[in-house]
C-alpha cells in the first residue's frame, strides 16, 4: 500500500467504518444504560426533578470553592486540556470541513497558528495529567488499563496532528494519514471505553441532579 493509497483508505473506508462504529456504538451504549430503567420515586416531591437535572447538567462544570482548593490541580489541568481539545477539534478549519462534510453544518474557525499553540498547551496539560495519575496515590489506586488506554488514544491525535501540521519526521501525506488514523482509533474506542464519559456524563449529571432536585436540593 502506497502512502497515497493509505491516505485514501483512512479518508475513505476507514473513516466510514470508524464513523459507523462510533455512531452505532454510542446509540447502543445509550440504550444499554437507559433501558436498565429506574424506579419512579413515590415520595412526595419537594422540588422538580427535571429542573434539578437540567441545572446540574451545567452547574456541575463549576467546581465548589472547597473542591477547587483541595483538587485544584485536577480541576485546572482538566479544564485546560478539555478546553484545549474543544478548540483544537472544533475550531481548526480543516476539521470544520470534516464536520461540514458529515453534517452540513459549518462555523468560523480560529487562525491555524493559534490552534497549533493550543495543541501544544493541551499536550502539556495531558502529560501533566498523566504524571499526576501515576504519582498521586489516589489516582494510581483507581487507575486501570482502560484509563491509560484512554489517555493514550486522546494524546495520539494531538501528537500526530502536531507532527502533521509541522511535517516532522515523515511525509505530509503519511503524517496526515496517521493523524486521521489516530482519530479513527479514538472514534472506534469512543463508545466502549471511558471516552464515552463525554456523552454519559450528561446522563449521570441528569440523574444526580434529578434525584437531588426532587428533594429540593440544588446539586
Amino acid at each position: 500500500m502506497t502512502e497515497t493509497e493509505f491516505l485514501l483508505w483512512v479518508r475513505g473506508p476507514a473513516f466510514s467504518i470508524a464513523t459507523f462504529i462510533m455512531c452505532a456504538g454510542l446509540v447502543i451504549r445509550f440504550l444499554e444504560i437507559f433501558l436498565l430503567g429506574r424506579k419512579a420515586d413515590l415520595a412526595e416531591a419537594r422540588g422538580s426533578a427535571a429542573a434539578g437535572g437540567f441545572r446540574t447538567l451545567f452547574r456541575r462544570s463549576v467546581p465548589d470553592a472547597g473542591s477547587f482548593e483541595r483538587s485544584g490541580f485536577t480541576i485546572v489541568s482538566g479544564y485546560i486540556f478539555h478546553i484545549g481539545l474543544f478548540i483544537v477539534i472544533f475550531l481548526f478549519v480543516p476539521h470544520i470541513l470534516v464536520f461540514e462534510a458529515v453534517s452540513g453544518l459549518s462555523w468560523p474557525g480560529l487562525p491555524s497558528n493559534i490552534i497549533d499553540a493550543t495543541n501544544v498547551v493541551t499536550m502539556i496539560a495531558l502529560l501533566a495529567v498523566l504524571v499526576h495519575r501515576i504519582k498521586d496515590p489516589v489516582m494510581r489506586l483507581l487507575s486501570e488499563f482502560n484509563d491509560y488506554l484512554v489517555w493514550f488514544v486522546t494524546f495520539l491525535p494531538l501528537l500526530t496532528g502536531y507532527l502533521a501540521f509541522h511535517r516532522i519526521g515523515l511525509s505530509g501525506a503519511m503524517l496526515i494519514a496517521l493523524h486521521i488514523l489516530s482519530v479513527e482509533i479514538l472514534m472506534i474506542l469512543f463508545p466502549f471505553t471511558k471516552l464515552s464519559h463525554a456523552f454519559t456524563l450528561w446522563m449521570a449529571r441528569w440523574y444526580n441532579g434529578a434525584i437531588a432536585g426532587y428533594k429540593g436540593v440544588q446539586s
Binding site: 473506508p13 444499554e32 433501558l35 430503567g37 470534516v98 453534517s103 474557525g109 491555524s112 501525506a173
Partner: protein, 362 residues
Amino acid sequence: MSKDKTLGETLRERGISRRSFLKFCATTASMMALPPAMIPVIASTLDKLRRPSVIWLSFQECTGCTESITRSNSATIEDLIFDTISLDYHHTLQAASGSAAEHAREEAMQENHGNYILVVDGSIPGENNGYSTIAGISNKDMLLEVAAGAAAIVAVGSCAAFGGIPKADPNPTGAVSVSDLVKDKPIVNVPGCPPIPAVITGVLVQFLTFGLPELDHLGRPAAFYGKSIHDRCYRRPFYDKGLFADSFDDEGAKKGWCLFKLGCKGPTTYNACATTKWNDGTSFPIEAGHPCLGCSEPDFWDAGSFYKALSIPTEAIGKTAVYAGAAGLIAGAALGASLRARKQSAVKDHERVTIDDLDQES
C-alpha cells in the same frame, strides 16, 4: 564534439567566456537550491567534467516531460545543459529515425557500457507488452536491456517515477514505474506532471556534478523535493491566520487567500514549484489562483477529488452516520431488552431478607 574533451575545454572552444560559465554555474546552483557557497565547486567540477552518454527512453507518456525540458530557461542555457551531456538517443529529439535510431542506441550502449545514464519518461505496461512497443521491442524489454548497462537511471515525470496517469484507475495497461521493474540500479525519480523544467536540468547537472544526490523515501532528490509546497507557499501566512478562499470567485480568492478549502494538495506535495516556479520563474499554480493538484506525488490522479479539501472524508459520511444510528437502535434495543430481562430475573430470584438472614452459615 569529442567526448574526450572536458566540458571546460569544449566551452572555451566554442567561445563561451568564463564569465558566462560562472553565470551558468550561479544560476544552476540557484536552480538546484544549493547554497551560493557551492558555486565555485560547481564551476570547477563542471569544468573538468567529461561528457557522459545519455540514452533517453520514452514509453507510455505524452511528451509533456520532453516539452518541459526543451523549454528549460533560455535556448542558451539549455544548450549548455545539453553540452554537458551527449544525448545519444531520444526518439522525439533525435534527427535519425527507424533502424538508424535504434542502431545509435545500441552503439551508445556498447561504447559506454556501465557508464551511460538512462533517462526514462513514461510508464511501462505491465500486463500486456503489446500495449506499447518501439521498433517492435516492448517497453519492458527495452527498459531492462538498456538499464542493464546503465550507471544510473533518472525517471523523469510522474509516469516513469510512479506510474502516473497511465496507472490511474482502472489502469488498463497495468502500467508500472521504472522502479517497479528495475531493482539493481540507482534510480533518481524526478516526478511532476510535468516536472519543473529547471528541476529536470538541475537534477541532471547535480547528478553530473556531485553524483547520486541525496534522495527521499520516494527516490526524489531532496534538494528539489525536500520541502512541501505548503511550507514554501507565499500564501502560507493566510493559512496560519485561518483565511481561506471558499470558492474560486469569492472575496477570499480575489484577495489571494489560502486555497486549502478548494482542495489544495500543498501540504502533502513535495516539489520546488513555490520557489523555483514555472515559465522562467514567473508563477506557479497557486500564484495563478488554482490549488496544487499534487502532481509530483504517487497516484495523484486517484488521490481524491482535486477540489475537495485534504482533510475531509472521501465517502458520504452523513449517510453512514444515519445508518449507524439505525443499526445502533436495533442492536441497542435488543441488548437493552436482554439486560432488562436479566435484571427482572434477579428481581424474581429475590428472597425476602429477614433478620435471620444477616449472617452467613459457616
